[in-house]
Symmetry: C2
Subunit: 247 residues, 2 copies
């Protein structure tokens, strides 16, 4: 997904209205097989103590100067700032960036993962929380972007990312979607979504959920490898601490 | 809208899941200009004391044997049963009818307003609550169905219905939709919707919001007229007590 135009910024509009006290604002998440859900924005605002346990644990592995990809309402950037990290936060949503700034994120920019270049300097850690490993989109795009991140990070650079093990779903509609993906030669957890709110809608985009094994396979050959997984049995969400291969 | 097939019964599925304790179940309401919202189902279950004031007041005008069109989760039918009325309740949604029965509605059937005939007997009052004057759909269809209801009701038969004065909206998207309707020769408050939940979706259908003046014009020549309107300044929702013309 690239920088959103105003009529596409459904997600950011919901964050902004939530911040301004509209408790009915929620993102409508539509999948390309017609499956549709609403997602309340509160989780994007939650303080550290309310995060999933794997997220709280994963934060320990963040070090140095940080790039927060997909800042949303800023919960991760704010926590890292408070811990003393220098943080650059980016998001494709201009309104999300506005929300993050209003909430105190000091350095937030409208920028897509695909458009990152050396102009922001080098980072010690890249964080992709709230399933944002998914922003890699597809196998091919993931490999390209992982190589790019390799060049934009320091020698002991690190990625701390979360994803969800989509094989653990019991929902028949989700299982059918995974089967269809495999038949079409896509990764099983490669989900085509659009986000809507009122008349706003993003275009369709691919968001990638991977199992821990799929993540390891994806990283192979990109200069990155998984140092450790953080997971628990209660939840499909897991975190990965991803380090550079020895050179 | 006619009797819904299982894959179309988004509205009824949400009611059923809400009854069974899923507090995330909500209907996604999509308009044909792309405007999309979620609607929590709680209002369909609310006890009399929590209804809108105009609804509570309108209930005083219900008399005799009642046909409840669009029973939903049964709140109106249950209240009327408790007051001693004989009630026949109908809905296009098989799952809504199941929910209404489970909640104690004694006589609930899967039947569309369009499919009503003499087999249910004659009624003293037809109730169309929760904006269900909208089920008349369009000017042409409203006139046809109003004449049919005339034949299916007793000599002093009555319709008690609610609608919303759509001219009172301040939402630019809603105003634009009304303008577009006028340009296309539709009634301004004739809204093309579909209701979705997960992969379930009704077909597109017209739902009609009318001003009090539009309602009076619509009734003219059908054998019905408005006896009284019940409204207040705080809300767009109003009720109409509709009686038969002197013959």
């Amino acid at each position: 997904m690239r920088r959103l135009r105003p009529e596409q910024d459904a997600f950011g509009r919901v964050l902004l209205e939530h911040l301004d006290g509209n408790d009915r604002a929620a993102t409508i998440v539509e999948r390309d097989d017609g499956y549709i859900e609403w997602e309340p924005p509160a989780a994007y605002f939650s303080p550290f103590r309310n995060w999933f346990a794997v997220e709280r644990q994963a934060l320990r592995y963040v070090r140095g100067r940080v790039l927060d990809v997909g800042v949303g309402a800023g919960r991760v950037a704010l926590e890292l700032q408070q811990r003393g990290h220098a943080v650059v936060a980016v998001d494709v949503s201009p309104l999300a960036v506005r929300v993050a700034r209003r909430r105190g994120v000091r350095n937030a920019k409208v920028l897509a993962l695909e458009d990152l270049d050396g102009s922001l300097g080098r980072f010690d850690t890249v964080v992709l929380f709230m399933n944002n490993f998914g922003l890699f989109g597809s196998e091919r795009k993931a490999r390209r972007l992982l190589r790019r991140l390799h060049a934009l990070t320091t020698d002991d650079g690190r990625i701390v990312a979360t994803s969800s093990d989509h094989t653990r779903t019991t929902n028949p509609a989700h299982k059918a979607y995974r089967r269809r993906n495999k038949e079409r030669g896509r990764m099983p957890g490669q989900i085509r979504f659009r986000l809507r709110y009122r008349r706003l809608s993003t275009g369709w985009f691919d968001y990638l959920f991977v199992t821990p094994r799929e993540m390891e396979r994806l990283l192979s050959g990109t200069g990155w490898h998984v140092n450790r997984f953080i997971s628990n049995d209660d939840d499909n969400l897991y975190a990965a601490v991803i380090d550079k291969d020895a050179s």
